[in-house]
Amino acid sequence: MMNEIDERTVQQAKGGDKQAFRLIVLHYAQAVNRLAYRYTTDSSQAEDIAQETFIKAFQAINRYQPKAKFSTWLMRITTNSAIDHLRKANRHLATSLDDAEQRHDITDHRIASDDQLDLQQRLQQAMSALSDVERIAVTMKHHQGYSIEETAQVLNIKKNACKQTLFRAVKKLRKQLNTEVIA
């Protein structure tokens, strides 16, 4: 559960108080960067997304309604920025599902054979080895708590395809835990 910044600071930022907005940046910067990293598994891209997120947030802060948590609103901007960023990076999110599957099956084999890596490293590699679509699906659903329908909409795929993507991604990650997934 994320600590929320006080409503007064948000209201001051809405009024154009940049020092109040600075407090918002200090409060949420780590969470925004971490979420961006989950989507990209790339520190440099996560940094770009975090900067973009806060600039967009400042531009749109007048549209924030206090009926939602500020962190929820901010993380939504982060998610949208990350997905835009991946799209701009010319990664074909919705059309490369089959290609991604084939490509990452090969990568999975490489990871599985690398026994000297510890669990965390193996999981990190497995996360990086997921296709963008798989990583977005897992992050949106598992970490952010979006519904499958919302996730499918963002990825521009059908609900069943989204379920399949999630299943495939979780299977790949659990493989690194040596859990018996399929009998």
Binding site: G16, K18, Q30, Q51, Q59, R63, L123, K141, H142, K163
Partner: protein, 242 residues
């Protein structure tokens, strides 16, 4: 378990399964164990991801330093249709912008066109003509008020002469348009406004000296300013020239 059941198990974990699948899972001890294992695995994955990406403690300040200069002056500067219309409306009341001048010309053309047709369609044409004239005079008075306030405060002096000339031309056209009308109060107001605009139009070069008609400091002209505001209000509320 076969893969299909694994997929159902994942949907149960994600709280996206049908009630029948949930019931079936709960009835089977094996399925419950698998669900527990899945939950444990997902927790490990979640925690591992959190530890993967360490950031310095002062990361927030570093990020602020990166973006502080790139933030717009005020929030809400994102481009959107609402902002476009807001800018357009702001543009219309700024006397120094040609957009306002263009809008006024369009309005005048409409007035002239309708005035030319008044003989054939007198009843409805008269009302429409009055409304259009009232709206255009209101716009003219708004622009004049902004202009005079700006020059009185020492702002906008660079283009004062050309803006005053444009406003003066408009003022005279509206006076002529009102000549055949009952709007004696409006006509009187435009009559009094004309010498003030004339003085700025013929005034000394900007930034060296303000014309003597620094009228906001003068008691009589403060009354004129008040009458401009009152007339604008009247035209805005009733679209009726008095």
């Amino acid at each position: 378990m076969n893969p299909i059941e694994d997929e159902k198990l994942l949907m149960i974990y994600f709280d996206e399964a049908d009630k029948a699948d949930i019931d079936a899972c709960l009835k089977s001890p094996d399925s419950c164990r698998q669900l527990d294992q899945l939950e444990a695995d997902m927790t490990v994955i979640e925690q591992a991801q959190d530890q993967q990406h360490q950031l310095p403690e002062d990361y927030g300040q570093q990020l602020w330093n990166q973006i502080a200069d790139r933030l717009p002056e005020t929030p809400g500067n994102a481009k959107s249709p609402a902002h476009f219309w807001q800018r357009l409306m702001n543009g219309l009341v700024q006397p120094q912008y040609s957009l306002a001048g263009m809008a006024m010309v369009v309005g005048l053309v409409l007035v002239a066109y309708i005035a030319g047709r008044q003989q054939s369609d007198l009843s409805s044409g008269d009302a429409l003509q009055q409304q259009l004239l009232a709206q255009n005079i209101q716009l003219h008075l708004t622009q004049s008020e902004i202009f005079l306030t700006q020059v009185s405060n020492g702002n906008g002096l660079a283009n004062a002469s050309s803006t005053a000339q444009r406003l003066l031309t408009s003022n005279r056209i509206f006076k002529q348009a009102l000549a055949g009308n009952d709007g004696q109060f409006t006509q009187q107001l435009l009559q009094e406004l004309e010498p003030v605009l004339l003085e700025y139009a013929n005034g000394a070069p900007a930034q060296t000296q303000q014309p003597e008609a620094n009228w906001v400091s003068d008691q009589n002209d403060r009354q004129l300013m008040f009458r401009i505001k009152a007339m604008k209000q009247q035209l805005a509320n009733h679209d009726e020239i008095i």
